[in-house]
Amino acid sequence: MSIVSINKLNLYYSEFHALKNVDMSIEEKSVMAFIGPSGCGKSTLLRTLNRMNDMINGIRIEGEVKISGQNIYSPDVNVELLRKNIGMVFQQPNPFPKSIYDNIAYGPRIHGIRDKAQLDHIVESSLKAAALWTEVSDNLKKSAYGLSGGQQQRLCIARALAVNPQILLMDEPTSALDPISTLKIEELIRELRERYTIVIVTHNMQQAARISDYTSFFLNGEVIESDQTDKIFTTPTDQRTEDYITGRFG
């Protein structure tokens, strides 16, 4: 069952044609990896899904992006509710300069939840879902900045999960982290797949092969191939895909 359906999507940064005729489906409760060389549109497409691109001046979009059957670019869509339903984790961990508790409670509070008992429950379950609870439960009032890089990134994941999204977007979430934190987060992604649809941009092909169910290969703003991960990495259809995967260019 596909939850995201992209049809003939074209995106322009002023004159620059950044995404060309993208057609793609993303299956519910699976992990989709976007791979490809730098600057070929992976992050741009990711940001299109939660309309974070709206904030860039001079952006023009043609085509359709449907999430759960609804075109997210139609004028009656409430962008804030859309973003509540689609969480995002960035490459550099970006916790707020607040306590661990307040970081996680930020999202629910924005959307109107004020009851302390409810917030306590959400904070605990989000931290557990992000595999961070045991490490921080003794002092939730501590500043988020006191955590290590890997812990901060898991905090950002917990923060995104706190508003109960259906989809989680991750833009190179482990590229700024050490190998052990990377491994922990990859394990986390495998667990989260049971409840969420995850789209992850990664430069690390081995990571894509390890954790994703489906992979899309991007080149110069086009999606060259999009298929099950096994197939892409063993018998790719397009020569360019094979060249990239075997390291002939990158």
Partner: protein, 289 residues
Amino acid sequence: MADNGELRHIAKRKRKNRLFHQLFFMSTCFGIVALALLLIQVLVQGAGWLDWDFLTSYASRIPSRAGILAALVGTFWLMVITAPLTFIIGVATAIYLEEYGKDTRLSRLIQTNISNLAGVPSIVYGLLGLTVFVQLLSMGRSLLAGALTMTLLVLPIIIVSSQEAIKTVPQSLRNASFALGANRWQTIVRVVLPSALPGIMTGSILSLSRAIGETAPLIVVGAVAYVAFLPSSPLDTFTVMPIQIFNWASQPQAEFQNVAAAGIIVLLIMLLSMNAFAIFLRNKYQKKQ
């Protein structure tokens, strides 16, 4: 090993390094020494004349009976009206320029003009206040007119320093907030302002310190020196400490110099208390983070 030419060159570089080190140090000393001399001079002249009577009496032609009460209360009320006005308008403007109106032609226009306004001589603000507040809006030579004039005077300082403070908040934090479904207003109130507050407070300290010491524009707006009552409403006539001090310092009798010095001490104490309070607020907020 280095040859003779290289050794000579190294010695020359070391000398130059030491020379500049000493020059920079002496420049610093110059500033500190000047400030210290000023303070000592004021304390020596005025400390003897500073007593309870001084604080509770009105101005007088007789040095021993002269007091700073009217000016003290005038300055106090001036700050009480100016501070919140300039803070609210200034910070709101900075928020608009940085968060809502960024990169629009209007905000670029405003931006250029604010920087220019910061450099306009204060007497010009005095004339503006006289024309607009005192005469056009019929406020008369009142405390309110003076406070509004001061508000305009220090507004550019608060706007620019608040903008700088808001600029230091990383875009990544705003992105995190938007990605969670917050709108711009929520992001400003919950993420940007709390982070920018220390810088904004510093800017407020700077601007209010300027306002408390202004003399010429307030004379133009009508603050007079011989006020023998306390203002009971914002529309009353008033005086402020710098004007009173200036008036005393201009008197022929030598003793009035000491009275002026005592007045300066009171002004400095008031300034330091105001700054200490702002720093206290800033630190309290920084700890919360």
